[in-house]
């Protein structure tokens, strides 16, 4: 093997890669936050709503979790314009990722709802707590703590795997940016080596942030490695 590595051109364009990484980070955070909101509503409906509504939630979850995220985003990007709905590529990616995350987070949060112990709620009731006080002091902290590890893992999945789909519909997040730049001067190996490293650093930063948040808010002894 006598490949001549030339990283110089990658460093010249490093600010553009950083921009891509920043966009990836933002997309990951927004999609996760939006998905968490959908998941919270979905899980609450799955747990407490009458059956026709539970059935609709099931349809959403089954449809989304059993089809590739790429197909869902292509549906928004290439499919909807056929019926007159046009969104920007960033909007298609963000909406697609959010809907996708929402289905998985419905499942994760539902497990949290089911794990709340009726006995702790009864203890709260006998101490005179109202329903709202039970939610605030018992149910929410309990759900947050019990599903924290699954939530943190899923955030990384959205951040790394989810957002990179954007490259295929022309969103200049980290992967898209790397494809754009390397197709100009054909330094694929160098670009993707650096980008892989950047993903690891991004994930690492996110993991530390999540571990600190978990320790501070939910007393979870989260491991970073």
């Amino acid at each position: 093997m006598n490949y001549n590595f030339q990283f110089g051109v990658v460093w010249e364009n490093f600010p553009a890669l950083l921009e891509g990484a920043w966009l990836t980070f933002q997309l990951g955070c927004f999609a996760f936050a939006g998905g968490a909101l959908i998941g919270l509503v979905g899980a609450a409906l799955k747990t407490y709503a009458p059956w026709p509504i539970r059935f609709l939630v099931d349809c959403y979850v089954v449809f989304i979790t059993n089809t590739p995220a790429l197909i869902q985003i292509y549906f928004l990007y290439f499919g909807l314009p056929e019926v007159g709905v046009r969104w920007s590529n960033e909007a298609c990616l963000l909406i697609g990722l959010t809907l996708n995350a929402g289905a998985y987070l419905t499942l994760i949060l539902r497990a949290g709802f089911l794990s709340v112990r009726i006995t702790e709620i009864e203890a709260g009731q006998t101490l005179g707590m109202s329903l709202l006080q039970q939610v605030r002091y018992i149910i929410v902290p309990h759900i947050a703590k019990s599903i924290y590890p699954a939530l943190a893992n899923f955030f990384i999945v959205v951040l790394v795997m989810g957002t990179s789909v954007g490259a295929l519909i022309g969103v200049d997040e980290l992967t898209g940016q790397a494809i754009n730049l390397s197709s100009v001067n054909y330094r694929w190996l160098e670009y993707f080596t650096v980008v892989a490293g950047m993903y690891v650093v991004l994930t690492f930063i996110a993991s530390i942030g999540l571990a600190l948040l978990g320790r501070w808010a939910f007393r979870v002894k989260a491991r970073i490695f």
Partner: protein, 245 residues
Amino acid sequence: MAHLAVSDVRASYGALEVLKGISFSIEKGEIAALVGPSGSGKSTVLRALMGLTPITGGEVDIAGETMNYSSAREVRAARDRMAIVFQQYNLFQNMTVMQNLTLAPLKIKNWDKAEVASEARRLLSLVGLADKADAFSDQLSGGQQQRVALARALALKPQILLLDEVTSALDPELVNEVLDAIRKLADEGMTMVIVSHEMAFVREVADKVAFMDAGQIVETGTPAELFDAPKTDRARDFFSKILRH
């Protein structure tokens, strides 16, 4: 006037009637024990008193107020006057020992912060856990958790304390530390209704005992009367089995 008077209380789970007209009463400072086989309805009596299991008939007189738990206000009034300790402790796992004790007095009763804190410390030393104020429940043994639950129930200054098989989930060597804490409460004159399988303990602290079977009180009396000379066949059969060893 009795401090707690239960008259003809009935409760059902679906079609199954689990309490078929329970009546008993205790005076202030007395300790009553409910004993009997599993499934006889002992725990359900305590749950009904706390408004956790709805009653379908009868009424209860607690410290001068008669109620049948038909309104949220009556359930609140019952929970104001009584506190319960469960078999499985049921501590709030996301809170420290101190937070478990002070949550209800501070957030539900809005009592004075300094007074609540000093009362909580007094109760923790009463149950022998003054050094565990900042521990979380998963750092405590079962016996310690149950003593925290006892202190938490007392923090609301109940007039009557209900104990639902509070030692049944504990390792044998941890039972005594919980019983010691209850003995101290008895010495302080706390009115209590105890559901227990610790017959020696019941004999020691209880003023009166009711033997329950199949949702009914079959026989009542002092511990000595019931344990040593039961009048009904069902009670004689039960005590001959459990007091032999």
